[in-house]
């Protein structure tokens, strides 16, 4: 069989998913830690101060990657929710439920760092601006997914299917919420990076570098944390299967 096809099928079955991802955890964690340390040192000490905001802009190196992750992870949850709901794959359920708390944490971190930055810059911790509001609503979506799951904790399969449904509904609604809030009001500054050029966005490479490193670091941290959680999720939900007891006898 083609190697990629074989890998794909192996990742769909809980025992081999558990076995394969076990080898990935340590490298992912090391990568995440190294990149975080490098990115933070580079961002906090070596990147030049902003011409307008001085040094306080440096919170961006945490804020912006966290904001990217908060949306990226919800997208992952939505996609694995569709897979879990349509094909009833246990691994997709595990990935979905493992991602939710991490995503919620990144969302909370985004809001928190944004508020801390907002006080010296805008003179207020909170302003009902479009992006802050939709980030807050994103947090509610995360809480909804986790809430419906924990409400049905006596039957994990059913809980995961209902949570998947909630995640899909949220995924459909996200653009609607986003644009409705956008039309409603806005004072937030423009996007930090514009891929297509344009006038807004960071041009200075020494500022961009730590930002991109931190973005990578959060991705690796997410992968590490998600796989770790997904593995224990599978152990918990499959506890009566023979492969789980074999794991414990071997170790």
């Amino acid at each position: 069989m083609n190697k990629i096809v074989k890998f794909y099928h192996e990742m769909g079955s809980p025992p081999s998913f558990y076995r394969i991802t076990g080898h990935w955890l340590k490298p992912l964690l090391i990568l995440a830690l190294l990149l975080t340390v490098y990115g933070l040192i580079d961002g906090l000490f070596f990147a030049p101060p902003d011409y307008q905001q001085g040094d306080s802009y440096r919170i961006m190196f945490v804020h912006v990657p966290a904001a990217w992750m908060s949306m990226f992870i919800y997208f992952i949850i939505g996609v694995s929710g569709i897979i879990a709901f349509v094909w009833r794959m246990k691994v997709a359920e595990a990935v979905m439920m493992a991602s939710a708390p991490i995503g919620a944490l990144f969302t909370a971190l985004t809001l928190l760092t944004g508020m801390l930055w907002g006080k010296p810059m805008w003179g207020t911790y909170w302003d009902w601006d479009a992006r802050m509001t939709s980030e807050l609503i994103l947090l509610f979506l995360y809480i909804g997914v986790m809430g419906i799951y924990s409400a049905y904790d006596d039957d994990p399969r059913k809980a995961a299917r209902l949570a998947a449904l909630v995640a899909i509904i949220g995924l459909i609604n996200l653009p609607i919420i986003r644009y409705s809030v956008e039309w409603w009001t806005s004072i937030h500054q423009g996007a930090s990076i514009s891929i297509m050029g344009g006038n807004s966005g960071i041009k200075e490479w020494s500022m961009l570098r730590p930002l991109l490193v931190m973005a990578l670091a959060t991705k690796f941290y997410y992968l590490y944390s998600m796989l770790h959680r997904a593995r224990s999720y599978l152990l918990r939900t499959e506890q009566n299967k023979s492969w789980v007891s074999k794991q414990f006898i071997e170790n």
Binding site: F140, I143, G147, A151, L162, L165, I169, N173, I177, W183
Partner: protein, 220 residues
């Protein structure tokens, strides 16, 4: 055919237990009393917040009734019968939503001017207030069926239902209250109303499917 029977039955059940119908209205009246008490009774202050308060009250008073859309049917087994009868589940959901709208949405619309008078809403905005609620209350009922189907076999699902539904209702609130607000400021509300109508069409087509999927999972 079965759609009408189901609708008739649900309206009748709600009518027999009249507290279902007047409770949201009493709730609105109670809460609206709190605003002048807390804010001061100045007509100017109240006028400013009136579009939002009338709208949020309509929203919350509907929200507290959503939990029961499917609960009784689930508990006495009639929901299982709908699915066994071969009736299309999304159609059944639309019938439930229509019955819910007739027994809570419609009273809320009719009652809205009373709340608006208490808050000194400018006379020019009454028409748009009624129109926006007329488009939006069916959305509450339709999205409510999704939330209600998700939590129908939970004991205390009310709080969870609010968490699930509130993000979906945020755009509705923005466009609905926005339409009334624009009118009080002397602008045209056409944009908001059109977007609100778009939300209605979207929830009419998608919400019954989502609710039916949730019912199926819950009955498995």
């Amino acid at each position: 055919m079965r759609f009408w029977i189901l609708l008739q039955r649900d309206v009748l059940v709600a009518w027999r237990k009249k507290s279902n119908i007047y409770q949201p209205l009493v709730f609105q009246l109670l809460i609206v009393t709190m605003f002048p008490l807390g804010l001061g009774a100045g007509a100017q202050t109240l006028q400013k917040i009136a579009p939002a308060v009338v709208w949020i009250l309509a929203l919350i008073s509907t929200l507290i009734t959503l939990e029961n859309i499917f609960k009784d049917d689930y508990e006495d087994g009639s929901l299982a019968l709908y699915t066994l009868s071969g009736m299309s589940l999304p159609v059944a959901v639309i019938a439930k939503a229509a019955a819910h709208w007739l027994t809570t949405g419609l009273p809320v619309i009719i009652f809205a001017p009373v709340i608006a008078v208490l808050l000194h809403l400018p006379a020019s905005a009454y028409g748009i207030l009624m129109l926006s609620l007329l488009i939006a209350t069916p959305i509450f009922s339709l999205l409510g069926t999704v939330g209600s189907a998700l939590i129908m076999n939970l004991k205390n699902g009310g709080m969870l239902l609010s968490v699930l539904i509130m993000p979906l209702l945020a755009p509705v609130l923005i466009f609905g209250a926005g339409a009334v607000l624009e009118t009080t400021l002397g602008n045209t509300p056409v944009g908001h109303i059109t977007l609100l109508a778009g939300c209605f069409v979207l929830s009419l087509t998608l919400a019954p499917l989502a609710a039916a999927a949730a019912i199926k999972v819950n009955l498995e």
